[in-house]
């Protein structure tokens, strides 16, 4: 039986921007614009999208590092934006984050051991000796050796630094880990080691992951369900296999077709679109993908589609007839 761990309800985060000191009020940037999403206990929810689509803002909201403009997030049926004091501290123990850049996210003046053990100190857990034992145990679990506890971040390779970040994230035995592009900065051979480690940890500690990435093959490998984000909105949400084999939203189709396959014999049906992916809605109340969409119909210009279940938990925000797109011109070309 699946139980809901996180329930995100119509969350919105707008940032006001001004174009200079004399500028008047301008339209806000809608970083996250009405996202509703559930994360079930024990699953890995993949979140994909291109830079600037709002993935990290959504992560920050779940972590309560930011407050939303509108909407609510429930963690184990508690509204996280109503928490304060002791309850908030307890929440922060249950939810941890792993950042993208293992070079920038570690304090260069702290040893590995002190970085990993700091959460225990902050939460007044264990005495000094007990903390040292716990740090040693966690370092072993993530594949670091105890001798490395007195070293500084610059003495570690990128993969090892990411192990430090992971150790720090799991030391409080959290329930949810938000992994924000955890392997994007790593070389492929190291990336595989870290992905395997995350898989082991999930099994061992029954963790729930929200795995954010722009790399569609990594997301395919790790996720149970996948949400595709585009201009602050979820445009498609489905089980892993369903999404990759029967994508419905034209944006998902374009994204999938753009990934180069490591197989020179394979003809990829690449859907090439001209120009940039820009927010075409401009508050016009039309579909944000409208200007680029190869499958647009009249209604797309006048009404913004809502995320609807097309059966079997496959949600799509598209006016198209549920077959995703009308015939799309797959031009079989490689770059050679």
């Amino acid at each position: 039986m699946k139980t809901v761990l996180v329930d995100i309800q119509e969350i919105k985060k707008y940032y006001d921007i001004r174009a200079g000191i004399f500028a008047r009020e301008r339209a806000p940037v809608k970083a996250v614009d009405g996202v509703s999403l559930r994360i079930y206990r024990g699953e890995t929810l993949g979140l994909v999208g291109e830079s600037g689509c709002g993935k990290s803002t959504l992560a920050r909201l779940i972590m309560r590092l930011d407050v939303p403009t509108e909407g609510r997030i429930f963690f184990e049926a508690e509204d996280i934006f109503k928490l304060s004091g002791k309850d908030l501290k307890a929440y922060r123990k249950k939810v941890q984050i792993i950042f993208q850049d293992p070079y920038a996210s570690l304090n260069p003046r702290r040893t590995a051991g002190s970085t990993i053990g700091e959460p225990l100190l902050i939460n007044d857990m264990n005495d000094r000796k007990g903390r040292a034992v716990e740090v040693a145990r966690i370092m072993d679990i993530v594949g670091l050796t105890i001798e490395q506890k007195d070293r500084y971040p610059h003495e570690f390779s990128g993969g090892q630094r990411q192990r430090i970040g992971i150790a720090r994230a799991i030391i409080l035995k959290p329930q949810l880990i938000v992994a924000d592009e955890p392997v994007s900065a790593l070389d492929v051979s190291i990336q595989a080691q870290i992905l395997n480690l995350l898989r082991d940890l999930q099994k061992e500690f029954n963790l729930t992951y929200m795995f954010i990435s722009h790399d569609l093959s990594v997301v395919r490998h790790v996720s149970d369900r996948i949400a595709v984000m585009h201009f602050g909105k979820i445009v498609e949400l489905a089980d892993n296999q369903e999404l990759y084999e029967h994508p419905l939203h034209p944006y998902t189709i374009e994204l999938l077709s753009a990934v180069p396959a490591p197989d020179p014999g394979k003809k990829t049906g690449r859907l090439m679109q001209e120009g940039e992916i820009t927010d075409g809605s401009n508050g016009l109340g039309r579909c944000p993908f409208y200007p680029r969409c190869p499958a647009k119909v009249e209604i797309c210009d006048t009404g913004e589609p809502r995320l609807k279940d097309r059966g079997g938990g496959h949600f799509v925000a598209c006016h198209g007839e549920g077959k995703g797109a009308p015939p799309i011109n797959y031009n079989h070309k490689s770059f050679r």
């Binding site: 291109e50 992905l195 093959s217 396959a261 490591p262």
Partner: protein, 323 residues
């Protein structure tokens, strides 16, 4: 088709406080006219230093080209004086860098950055140069080039900046373009556009491309030949078909196995195969084969003697004692 670039026994060394680092170590490579050579390897393996050595842009000191020759159309670039080399750079051989954010001059208009090159190399006047800049910008798919020439880099998106970089690289009709991770900083959809653009320009102009990347997917789709680099050495060289159908070097095999696959049959394998360990530090390479500590086939000889790059299949060379 003839050989355009032939690199023989090229070594580039850097003096550091820990001793001499061999960033590029006795590399032999060739690029045919109209061909794309993919150069693949992990960070720190010497890919970029290789490209900079061809361009003779190695900062010296601490770096120096220790040995070898780089024959471009039969002329050894390493023997040219600074003036002669300067005339080749940007005109006959051009370079596209990884970071379109940092490799454009932030205080110059896009137009000025392009006209500088064409005025220098093609001797065009101010008016002609601006026209040429706009022509090139529209060739690389830039919407409204007449506006873009008076934009600053920060006014453009990442994909557009990379188009400007490519425009600068092709504006004098080079014979060879060195593209160093040209799509790494970009989103996949923009990456597809840029790779398509490079492929189209290559076809139209007959230029050759050296495409440096860590992404085997990009290599598979865009290159004709591939060199796999590890610790500054070419460990495998083959046509792209041969490399992907029968990878020989354990490092190449490991790299291919460690990428998550998108296709249904392989996608949900629970664990990825990994190459154990990390790339050894260049100050402290072991005797013999540098891959010995991460290899699953290590033999006695691997620890004693360095293998040579030799042909195992037709046109397919490998640097390994297994073959």
């Amino acid at each position: 088709m003839g050989t355009l670039l032939e690199i023989k026994n090229l070594s580039t060394h850097f003096d550091t406080e820990y001793g001499v680092i061999k960033a590029v170590d006795r590399v032999d490579l060739a690029i045919d006219e109209g061909d794309t050579l993919g150069v693949v390897g992990e960070s720190g393996c010497g890919k970029t230093v290789l490209a900079l050595s061809i361009m003779r842009l190695i900062p010296s000191p601490p770096g120096k080209i220790a040995s070898g020759s780089v024959l471009f159309n039969g002329v050894d670039l390493l023997k040219l004086d600074i003036e002669e080399m300067r005339r080749i750079r940007g005109r006959d051989i051009s370079m596209v860098f990884q970071e379109p954010m940092t490799s454009l001059n932030p205080v110059l208009h896009i137009g000025d950055q392009i006209t500088e090159i064409v005025r220098l190399h093609m001797g065009l006047g101010r008016k002609e140069a601006i026209n040429r800049a706009m022509e090139i910008l529209s060739l690389v798919g830039m919407p409204s080039p007449e506006k873009v020439v008076s934009n600053y880099p920060h006014q453009l998106s990442g994909g557009m900046r990379q188009r400007v970089m490519i425009a600068m690289a092709i504006c004098c009709g080079p014979r060879l373009m060195l593209a160093d991770e040209p799509t790494t900083a970009l989103d996949v959809t923009i990456q597809a556009q840029i790779l398509e653009l490079i492929g189209r320009l290559k076809k139209d102009t007959g230029a050759s491309v050296m495409l440096i990347t860590h992404d085997l997917g990009v290599i598979a789709e865009a290159a004709e030949h591939v060199a796999v680099i590890y610790t500054g050495q070419v460990v495998e060289y083959a046509s792209v078909e041969s490399l992907f159908s029968s990878p020989l070097h354990p490092y190449t095999v490991g790299l291919m196995e460690s990428i998550p696959k998108m296709d249904a049959t392989r996608a949900r394998e629970e664990y990825l195969k990994v190459i154990p360990g990390i790339v050894p530090s260049l100050h402290n390479l072991p005797q013999g084969c540098t891959f010995q500590d991460r290899c699953r086939h290590t033999m006695q000889i691997c620890r004693e003697e360095e293998p040579q790059l030799k042909e195992h299949l037709p046109g397919h060379k490998v640097h390994c004692w297994l073959y």
